[in-house]
Amino acid sequence: MSCANIIKKERTSVINPLVTCQPMGAMYAVAGIRRGLPLVHGAQGCSTFVRYAFARHFREPSEIAVTSLHEDAAVFGGRKNLISGIGNLAIRFKPSLIGVISTCSSEIIGDDMGGFIKVAIEEMKKRMGEKEAEKIKIVPISTPSFVETHFKGYDNTIKALVDNLACDPTEFNEKVNIIPGIVNPGDIREIKHILALMGIEGLILTDISDPFDSPLRPSATEFKPFYPKGGTTVEEICDTSNSLGTISLCRYAGSAAVSLEKKYDVPAAVGPIPIGVQNTDQFLRNLKKFTGLEIPDTILDERGLLIDSMADIVSRYLFGRKVAVFGDPAITSGIARFVCELGMIPSVVCTGVESPEFVEEMKKVAKESDEPVDVLIRSDLRDLETHLEEDPVDLMIGHSDGRLFAKSLDIPLIRVGFPVYDRVGYHRVPIVGYNGGINLIDRITNTVFEKYYDKEHWKLQQ
């Protein structure tokens, strides 16, 4: 048993952040709604930079509207922009839902989004008729950029969706709500695969798997306006209050689960992200608890395949190697625990948030590790770089923003999470669930081969 050394960044400034601001999490969440459109109430950069980031990572389009705030709004407020913005978007795109996302500018200006939305709805009724206007749900989402990080924005959004849309419970729908957190399409598909093997219908809040990985099939695609395939329907979000339970796979986005429990007695389980063996086991136990269903052999066999890989690979190639894990708190904590399960040492774990939950999680991981774990919180990539210059590791696991740091440190970087833009396919391949564990072992071990065995290639002969 060993300890976690909690190290807080000393600098005031941030150098190459590991987090971004709240609106990004909100845009991600709304993009997972069928015919759902994010409307960013801010300057154009707030939507454009995020669309760029999504395009770079998913290699998919993302349709995000903006109210285009300028100097006049800074002086007189963004009322006019928001009201006409909602109206134009509603009438031209006929979405099922508009998520109105605030930014630093609209929050500082002090726009009364709730009040403006009421006026906007009246205007919409005049422009498109009451019947058509009522079909479009408009959800205000407060995401001040200067408070916490993109995870808070994601959390606020899922909670706003549930609080605004969940209906008064009628009867159980036999479904389980899943809040996946900020993960990849491949991860959500793996979660759905597990649910299907269990015989459970999941209600994903929200499901970006198809919108951010959609087929190129012009004959089966909606154009004018373009809407990607898939996403969670508004009706499904309304139905979340009738579910058997809510599992948030992300410890940092559990507010909606808690809210559903308080308001509608839908039991909640928050975290951990099912990366690795024990975390996935916990996910299955949660599913069993909420549904009363047994875990089928098919899933236990998949678990067995992961265990088999670990037995075959770990001791010879991975055991005892030191790893630095960085990125968002959810994926980072999951990977850190999995690294321990592989007999490796998560020497450095680094994230941009400062959260007591993360510290607790890392203390648990440290107990499972043979050696101490340096936990860098409220940290950034420069902080990590300085740390690794003094105390190097064998491998880094994190996203593409660490690429130049890994290069100058001459440490191989295994890419996971968001964003990954300098490799392809990572948004499709899951890292959650037992299958995700297998993918991760392969990814990690093959990297170890390249770096530590290619010179003496005969070592890999048998």
């Binding site: 993302s62 903006v66 300028h70 928001l82």
Partner: protein, 478 residues
């Protein structure tokens, strides 16, 4: 009927003024309405003025650390996103000790709620001091206003002035909050003025020659500078200062010592050339090096200014000989293909003619994010009859352009590229390129190769499942 209201715009009829179909019979002043604010609720491809100054101009300089005065998002967003590599060499013979320093690091003040309430100046001061401690080798520290700091009214110039004295290093504040101006163009403009007022004329170059030029508005996208500079060198022209691709901070400070300025990007950097001419009497030539013909003409014009025509002729002749056979191949393959050019601004008038002359391609649609009247006038001159010219197209218009004008390829940014693919239309990146550089003679071949590879990728023949094949087709598949 030169102006056109798209079917998808009937609810926002003001858009009609922004869309013009070229007809030579129209008066010259018929061009799209431009450089005005976007209609709220549109999915615009435009960015903010912070992106204009930080992303386009500031970020290309090799030895500057940038401190973004903002909540964390603006710093994250401006990290490593633009593709402008740098060489480590500095004018005094030193080297920047970090590989691709400008691409690797970005700093921010990480403003929180309490800073919004009580002001962020203390944090800004502290962050700049930390920047100096972390990267003592930098030539300067630049700091940028954003929406938050614009709204809370931090006096960044005061902090910059004080720290310039205390640190003995230039600290420059760019006061262009994201919301200012209709597009990123405002950021370019204000940024030019700050560079000029604050830096130009403050340092002297180690040496000068009679053939010194400023290369202005060339950002070394994917290595464009590294194609152009050898041309100029061979002709006998010396680049004294770059603004700002592969530039060092000091070079900008001595732009007043050149004999001539060459203005490559005439949307983002013409302002500083004007200011330098006005104050120091240094003339400038607007240059266009995209496409072999323009490149040759403009190299000759620059050479002529210095009386170096002979060397330029030799270079041009050699280069044309080198690229002609491959160019002919692409022309044969791309003849008659239709394209939609959607760039930030000037590439829309740089490319239609070269693509027609050298590759036989027809530009059916042109659109820009932030072009102004002068740019649209040039675009109108250079495109064919019936070409649709669109200012700031929104997402629904995107669909209609593809439906009506049926381009074989779109040359655009990354956000638009993947959407075009969903329609079955190939797209290539024209802002940062696919496999660039695209400037100059060999650069144009890279562009031609990327267009060819995109249009002729076998995938476009397989996009839909076919229930039955004609017998002859079956043979081909086998």
């Amino acid at each position: 009927m030169p102006f056109k209201l798209f079917e998808v715009d009937k609810e926002i009829p003001d858009r009609e003024k922004h869309i013009y179909v070229k007809d030579s019979a129209d008066p010259k002043e018929h061009i799209p309405k431009c450089n005005t604010t976007t209609i709220p609720g549109c999915m615009t491809e435009r960015g903010c003025s912070f992106a204009g100054i930080r992303g386009v101009i500031g970020g290309a300089i090799k030895d500057v650390i940038h401190v973004v005065h903002a909540p964390v998002g603006c710093t994250t967003n401006s990290s490593g996103s633009k593709r402008y590599p740098t060489s480590p060499d500095l004018p005094n013979g030193d080297k920047v000790p970090v590989d691709q320093f400008n691409l690797k690091y970005v700093m921010g003040t990480d403003l929180k709620e309490s800073d919004v309430i009580f002001g962020g100046m203390k944090k800004l001061r502290q962050s700049i001091i930390e920047a100096y401690k972390e990267f003592p080798f930098v030539g300067a520290i630049y700091t940028y206003a954003t929406c938050t700091t614009g709204l809370i009214g931090d006096d960044m110039d005061a902090v910059a002035k004080q720290l310039t004295e205390e640190l003995g290093k230039d600290v420059v504040a760019f006061n262009v909050p994201g919301f200012s101006g209709p597009t990123q163009s405002k950021g370019h403009h204000e940024g030019n003025i700050t560079f000029f007022n604050r830096l130009v004329g403050t340092k002297e170059p180690p040496e000068t020659t009679p053939y010194d030029v400023n290369l202005i508005g060339e950002y070394n996208i994917d290595g464009d500078n590294w194609i152009l500079e050898p041309y100029l060198k061979e002709i006998g022209i010396n680049i004294l200062s770059r603004f700002t691709g592969d530039s060092s901070h000091d070079e900008i400070c001595w732009m007043h010592r050149a004999k001539l300025s060459l203005v490559r990007c005439q949307r983002s950097a013409n302002y500083i050339a004007d200011l330098i001419e006005e104050k120091y009497g240094i003339p400038y030539i607007k240059v266009d090096f995209f496409g072999p013909k323009y490149c040759a003409e403009n190299l000759m014009a620059v050479a002529k200014y210095f009386g170096l025509e002979e060397k330029a002729e030799k270079l041009i002749e050699r280069k044309m000989k080198e690229i002609q056979p491959e160019l002919d191949f692409y022309k044969e393959k791309l003849q008659g293909k239709k394209l939609w050019m959607f760039s930030g601004g000037p590439k829309n008038w740089h490319f239609p003619e070269p693509l027609k002359d050298h590759l036989g391609m027809e530009t059916v649609a042109v659109s820009t994010m932030f072009e102004h009247e002068d740019g649209y006038t040039k675009i109108k001159e250079r495109v064919g009859e019936g070409t649709v010219i669109i200012d700031d197209p929104n997402s629904l218009e995107f669909d209609e352009i593809i439906e009506v004008y049926k381009p074989d390829i779109i040359l655009s940014g990354i956000k638009e590229k993947y959407k075009a693919h969903k329609f079955g239309v190939p797209g290539i990146l024209i802002h940062s390129y696919e496999n660039g550089p695209y400037i100059g003679f060999e650069g144009f071949l890279n562009l031609a190769r990327d267009i060819y590879a995109s249009i002729y990728s076998p995938v476009w023949n397989m996009i839909e499942f076919e229930e039955e094949l004609e017998e002859s087709e079956e043979e081909v598949i086998k």
